[in-house]
């Protein structure tokens, strides 16, 4: 830990004591600066896989909680996809009742230690926060996500994680397909009602994108594992290495295996490519492949892991979302000397979490905005040697209100690279719909559901990325929860 980090932490204690020596008026609250997140030093962390953000100290959390105005209308709650009682839990943090705060969060959010780390708070709960609005900067809003993370970590490190109550057995059986956030949430909520629940997961570990996509340095895998363990202690059964649609047809689960309902949470599928010449050259990877090798299959543990990772020196990452940030930062940690992110628009339009972009910049990732490749060039062995890149400028706003990037004619340039990681999104996973023709999907292959997450097939529900396209952990959880309610009703 650096001096800066120590200063931030010690300072919080002094500040907190000073603040509380006199009555705290709203005006005083507004003057407290948002608490910085202690983090590993960028020059160190770019060489390790350990978590970057270190989390608030109790004093920092209490000081940050003092910034909340406890608004009556609580606009932050409306910004939260699962409607956490935000002023409620922050009030508890302020009083030092961290476990009490945890109970309030857990009423609506099953996975706070994860959401506190990966939710895009600046576009959700923190966007409408009164403090941020008054100070004319979302960045100055109450740091709700950091507080959520603090509370969840406190609960876990103090051995206070409670296993939710499970009602007496109903004799009904529910199958959950996919152990990502959608499936895990649905499983917990259905299990609480006393139904038997089995989760079928294709991979050898549960967690979905949280284990294969999002890197260790952003979301430690022990957290995901301990959430799955809570489900196990609730009596949820996990069938790993089980590909529904292939190991067993979806409808056989209902018709022959005695399941009364099925929830499909199979997540996003086949990665999109740019559709430019040279994309099948050696050294071009989808972000999914690159990250799965590095995370799930631990390719970063060279010598120990059986799965190889491509030795890269100059890496181009294409895209501007979280997936692009994760790929770029992973490539750096795996030893690349130079990593550049090529994005067709500008920083303002980047969909990645603000914190990840900041962290990436601190670590030395170079951003080339308003650039997009037109060709991948190879050497005589079919390996990536360079990208031909076209520059853009911003034109008129498009349907999404973002200014459309327009190519600048004749601006092509050649940039040398040995690795290209494509992180421009996913199509939907084709497997379940291919093997279950009765299931209606839209033209992108996303499963069509009604407002209660029910599909075109009776007793079959779906949610998360397989319905929404590439979305977020919290939206996937929200859909899992919604589906669970509907399932619980039909099983009453």
């Amino acid at each position: 830990m650096s001096h800066k980090e120590e200063y931030i932490m010690d300072n919080a204690e002094v500040e907190l004591a000073r603040l509380r020596s006199a009555p705290v008026t709203p005006k005083v609250r507004m003057q407290i600066p948002p608490q910085d997140m202690p983090a590993q030093d960028p020059s160190e962390r770019r060489h390790n896989m350990d978590e970057v953000a270190l989390g608030y100290t109790p004093a920092q959390a209490m000081l940050e909680a003092e910034r909340c105005l406890q608004c009556k209308n609580a606009p932050c709650i409306a910004g939260c996809p699962v409607r956490i009682d935000i002023p409620g839990f922050i009030g508890k943090v302020k009083g030092g009742d961290f476990l009490g705060a945890g109970k309030i969060i857990k009423k609506t959010n099953l996975l706070p230690s994860i959401c506190g780390r990966v939710c895009p708070q600046e576009t959700q709960c923190q966007a409408p926060c009164t403090v941020g609005k008054a100070l004319h900067s979302v960045g100055k809003a109450v740091q709700i996500g950091r507080l959520e993370r603090f509370v969840a970590d406190y609960e876990r490190t103090h051995g206070a994680v409670e296993v939710p109550n499970v009602a007496s057995p109903t004799g009904r059986k529910v199958a959950i397909v996919g152990a990502g956030p959608a499936g895990l949430t649905c499983a917990a909520d259905v299990r609480r009602e006393g139904h038997d629940v089995t989760i079928f997961e294709a991979f050898h570990k549960s967690g979905g994108v949280m284990v294969y996509g999002i890197p260790e340095f952003r979301l430690p895998k022990v957290l995901v594992q301990s959430e799955a363990e809570v489900l196990e202690s609730m009596g949820v059964d996990f069938e790993l290495n089980f590909l529904v649609g292939r190991t067993r047809p979806l409808l056989s689960l209902l018709r022959e295996d005695g399941y009364d309902a099925v929830f499909i949470g199979t997540g996003a599928g086949l990665p999109k490519f740019m559709d430019i010449p040279g994309e099948n050259l050696v050294g071009v990877f989808s972000a999914n492949e690159y990250l799965t090798r590095a995370n799930l299959l631990k390719a970063y543990m060279k010598g120990k892991a059986g799965t190889p990772i491509y030795p890269s020196h100059r890496v181009a990452v294409l895209g501007g979302g979280n997936v692009a940030m994760d790929s770029a930062r992973m490539a750096l940690r795996l030893g690349a000397e130079e990593v550049r992110v090529l994005y067709r628009r500008t920083r303002e339009e980047m969909p990645a979490r603000a914190e990840e972009v900041e962290h990436a910049i601190e670590e030395g990732i170079i951003f080339d905005f308003l650039k997009s490749p037109t060709r991948v060039l190879g050497d005589d062995k079919g390996r990536v040697a360079a990208l031909e890149v076209l520059s853009y400028e911003l034109g008129e706003p498009d349907d999404s209100g973002r200014r459309r990037p327009v190519p600048i004619r004749g601006s092509e340039e050649i940039m040398p690279f040995d690795t290209v990681i494509v992180a421009i999104g996913n199509e939907s996973n084709p497997l379940i719909s291919q093997t279950t023709p009765q299931l209606q999907v839209d033209r992108h292959g996303h499963i069509i559901v009604d407002e209660r997450q029910k599909t075109s097939v009776e007793r079959v529900y779906a949610g998360g990325d397989i319905v929404l396209g590439s979305a977020t952990v919290i939206l996937a959880m929200g859909e899992g929860r919604q589906a669970a309610q509907a399932i619980n009703e039909i099983l009453q």
């Binding site: 089980f242 631990k298 079919g382």
Partner: protein, 299 residues
Amino acid sequence: MHGTHKIVSKSQLSEEVFRIEVQAPLVAQERKAGQFVIVMYDEDFSERIPLTIADADPVRGTVTLIFQTVGASTHKLALKNPGDSIVLLGPLGNPTHIERFGWAVCVGGGIGLAPLHPIAKALKEAGNRVTVISGARTKDLLIMQDELAAIADEHIVVTDDGSFGRKALVTEPLGELCRRAPSPDIVVTIGPPIMMKFCAETTRPYGIKTLASLNTIMLDGTGMCGGCRVSIGGTTKFVCVDGPEFDAHLVDWDGMLMRLGTYKEIEKEAHDRCHLEMRIEELEAQGDGARAPEKEPAK
């Protein structure tokens, strides 16, 4: 959490080729000719290894896998014994399209003879006349010969070195069959990519429909990672969900061969290290004071 599968029997077919039978009742029941599985020798550090299913016994609830120890991962798999558990996911990929074509020629090379067997058998059962061409580098690597001979109406065996059967590459007899009148109605080929490529080139001038079962790099096998992509007739396809069988005349063989070589250097290093470690283990097991060579520091 469940999901691992027990090895119930194991045998060694040649110096480099192993056969394991794994308890996996649902896979045994669902699998059809042409499908494959992904296995891992452990849940923590193993690579995900795609292997085509050689046989299955739905009654015993087992699947049979035959593999050659070509790299560090398959070496480690070969160290597993009956009673040990491994990860196994499947059956993956689309089954071979089987119908009554008339005269079917099945060409298998080396380890590819194992997955060729269920396909040849299914073609035979569908009422085809089946010619099998078995090829291998040398006699030792010719596997599944009794089984293949039992179903084939005609069985041609070749080895590169002439140690058994005809001294030839599989493309030689394949070319001869193509020139017969009438010529084969369909050719199915499984084996090393380079062999499949040349089979495709052999049948192309005669316009004989030729299917090849591709063995690309794979991770998930479920249509998520895109690592298995190949160019088929100019469009990108994913072998695990769109294949594994494709029209051999449309496959971009050179592109696929290049992609297969992505990790060649790293794998060679791992393989060498693995050999060294196994040698050390052997020496240590001998316990006769034989001094193990210094371990190469992990890079």
